[in-house]
Subunit: 415 residues, 2 copies
Amino acid sequence: MGQPRLAIDLDRLRQVLAGVNRFGFNPQSGGFNRIGYSDADMAVRAWFEDQMRADGLMVTRDGVANLFGRFGPANGPCVMIGSHLDTVPEGGAFDGALGVCVGLECVRAIRAAGLTPAIAIEVVATAEEEGRFGGMLGSQSIAGVVTPEWLVTAQDADGVTLTAAMAAQGLDALNALKARRKPEDFHAFLELHIEQGPALESRRRSAGIVHSVAGVRNLRVDFIGKANHSGTTPMNLRADAFAGLATVGAAIPEIIAQHGGENTRVTIGKVDLRPNFIHTVPGQAEFVINLRDTDGATMDAVEAALRDQIEVAARACNLKSHIVEQSRIAPVKLDSTLAAMLHEEAKALGLGAISMPSGAGHDAQTMQTLCPAALVFVPSRDGVSHSPEEWSDWGDIERGANLMLAALLRLSGAR
Amino acid sequence: MGQPRLAIDLDRLRQVLAGVNRFGFNPQSGGFNRIGYSDADMAVRAWFEDQMRADGLMVTRDGVANLFGRFGPANGPCVMIGSHLDTVPEGGAFDGALGVCVGLECVRAIRAAGLTPAIAIEVVATAEEEGRFGGMLGSQSIAGVVTPEWLVTAQDADGVTLTAAMAAQGLDALNALKARRKPEDFHAFLELHIEQGPALESRRRSAGIVHSVAGVRNLRVDFIGKANHSGTTPMNLRADAFAGLATVGAAIPEIIAQHGGENTRVTIGKVDLRPNFIHTVPGQAEFVINLRDTDGATMDAVEAALRDQIEVAARACNLKSHIVEQSRIAPVKLDSTLAAMLHEEAKALGLGAISMPSGAGHDAQTMQTLCPAALVFVPSRDGVSHSPEEWSDWGDIERGANLMLAALLRLSGAR
C-alpha cells in the first residue's frame, strides 16, 4: 500500500465546512437551512466566493448563482470538482457542502505543495440541487437541459415560483438558458458526497465509487371505491379503497423478487385516505409508488408488474383505479474509465472502496451528459441524511478527500 | 296474507318528517345539521314537543333533553317507541328522525281510530344519539349507565366539553344522573330505523328485524420504524412502517375466513403515515382497526388473530408496535320474544321480513338493559347514510311503520 505524495489537511477542511455551516444554522433544532435562493443560500455563496478569491482562484458566477473558482490555465478544458451548497429544510451538515469544501481543500493542498495543474481545475458550488423547484437547476443549467417552459412554470411546495424566488435575489430565471457550457470546456467532473444510505456502513467500507445513478419513476395511484359505514356494510359488499392499497403494498416484496434486482427500490411513502375516519370504509385512497433502479429495463419490468397488481387489487376490491406518472428520470451510467481510475487510486491509498449504485440523484449524473463524471461516496452514520442527525466520520472523510486529491492530481497533470 | 286492522297515514307521516327536517337543513349541500345540543337540535325538540302536545300527549323532558309524549294511562309501565332527532354534521333526512316520526304517527293512527291503550304508549325523541361526545347520552341517561366522571370529561372533536355545550342550552350535564328511569316503568321498547347498510336492498326485502347489535372494538396501532431516503436505503435494510401496515391490511380477509363469522366486520378506515412524503420510507404508521361482531367470543378470536398478525408484520418489517384499545362496546342480544312477535306481525302483513344483525349502534341496545327491546330496519338506498344522499323508499317506510303499529297495538292492548 502506497502513501499519497500529497495529503489534504483535515483541520483546514473542517474549518471551511464549519464556515459554510455558520449560514442557515438553526440552534433550536441543530438543522441547516440554506434552501435554494434563500437569503442564507445567497449569503453562503458570497462567503465561499471570498474564500476562493483569497486562495487566488479566478471566481465567476453564472446567471443561476452557480459559483466557479478556477485554478491553473485560464483557457482550455477543466477538471471540475465540487457539489452543492444548498440544503433541504432542516438538513444536515454534510450533504452537498462537504463535496464543495473537499474540492476547495484539494486545490489548497495542491497549491500548498507548490504544484501547478496542466489542465485547469475548477471548484464548483452548484445552485438549487435539492430540488426546491423539482429539478437540479444548477447543474442542469450548465448541461443545458432546462427549458424556458419549465423555468417559467416551476414552483416550490408553497406555490412560490422559481422566477419570483430568483427575482427576490436579483436573478432572472431565464438567464439559466445562458448558463450552458460546452462539452469542450470539460475534461472530467468529480464529486464527493455522503452516501445518505446504510450500504457502506453495513459493509464497513470507507468509500464507494458509484457506477450508476438510479432512475426514478413516481406513479400516483387513485383507488376510488365507496365510503360506507364500517358497521352496516358487509365485507362482501364493500368497495374499500384501503383494502386495495394494502393488496398492492403487500405484493411489493414478491414483485421485486420476481421482476427486480438488487438495486430495485419500491416505496409507498405518501398515502391519503378519504374520509380517513375510524368508522368509515375508505372511499378513496391516493398514494404514490416511488420506483428506482439503475437499470431501465428492470424499471420497465417492475413498473409493468406494479400496474398489473394495481389492476388485480382494483378488481378484487371493487375499485376504479387511475394511474398518473408524476415524474420520470432515466437511470444514468457514470463513466466507467474514470471509475476504474478511482478504484486504482483507492487501492494505492489502501482504501477498500466498493463499486456501488447511487439511489439518490446528484449533480454528477447531469454532468455525465457533458463529460466523464465520477461520484465518490463516504459513509453516513446509520444511513441518515436530510436531518440534523446526519453525520459522517472524519476519518472516512479524510480518506475520501485524499482519494479525490489523488484523482485530481492525475486528471489535471499537476506537478 | 291479512290486512292490518289499522294503517298509518303515509301523507301525515311525510308531513311530520318534513316538519322535523325544516330544522338544520343546509340548502347548499342538501345535508341536515342538528348536532346534539346545537341550536337546531334544541329548536326541533321544541317544535316536536308542540306537535305531541297538540295531539293530546302528556309531554315531559328530562335533564338531558330527552323528550317524551305519553298517551294512555298516566301511571304504570309504558310501551316506548321512538328514536333520536339529532343528526351527524351534514347527515341525511331519515336517520333517527324517521323512527321518532313513525312513533308519533302510530299514536295518531291509534287515536284517530278511537282506540285507547291499556298500557300507556310513550313516544320518545332521545337526545345526542349520534355520539358527538362519544356515547349515546340520551338513552344511556334513561338506562342509568352514564357516570359523573364521563359527564365532566366528555368532549367533542373540536374540544368543546359536554358540560359547556349543555350549559349553552341552559342544561346541567350532571342532571343526566337524575334522568335514570326504573325497569318497572317499561313494558317494552320499539325502534324503527333506516338500515344504513346494503343488506336489505341487496336481498330485496322491505324490513329487517334485528336479533343483535354488534359490539365494537377500536384498536389504535402504532408501527414505529425508521424514516429513510427511498433511493439510498436498500429494501433489506428498511424499517418501513407502511410495509407493516400493508401486511396487516392484506391479511384481514384470511383472518375473517379463519376466525370470524358472517357478521364480522374489520375496517382500517384511518391511516396516518409520517412523514408522508413520496421520497421517504415511512418511519411511522398510526392506524385504527375497527372490529365489529354480534358475538363476543368471535370478537375475541378475531382480535387475537389481528394482534398476532400485527406482531408478525412488526417482526417481518423490523418495526416496534404499540396497540391501544381506544374503545370497547360489548355486543347486545335484543329480546328474542319481542322479535318473534314482530316476525309474526310482519308475516300477517305479508311483509317478507328477515332476521338480521345491526352493525351500527342504536338506542334500542341501551334500552335492552331496562326492558325487552326491538329494532326494525327499513332499507337504505345503496346502503348510504350519514350523507345528503341518504334515502329510503316511501313504500318500504309505509310497510315498516305499519309493522310498528301492529306491534304497538298488540303490546299496549289498545282497543
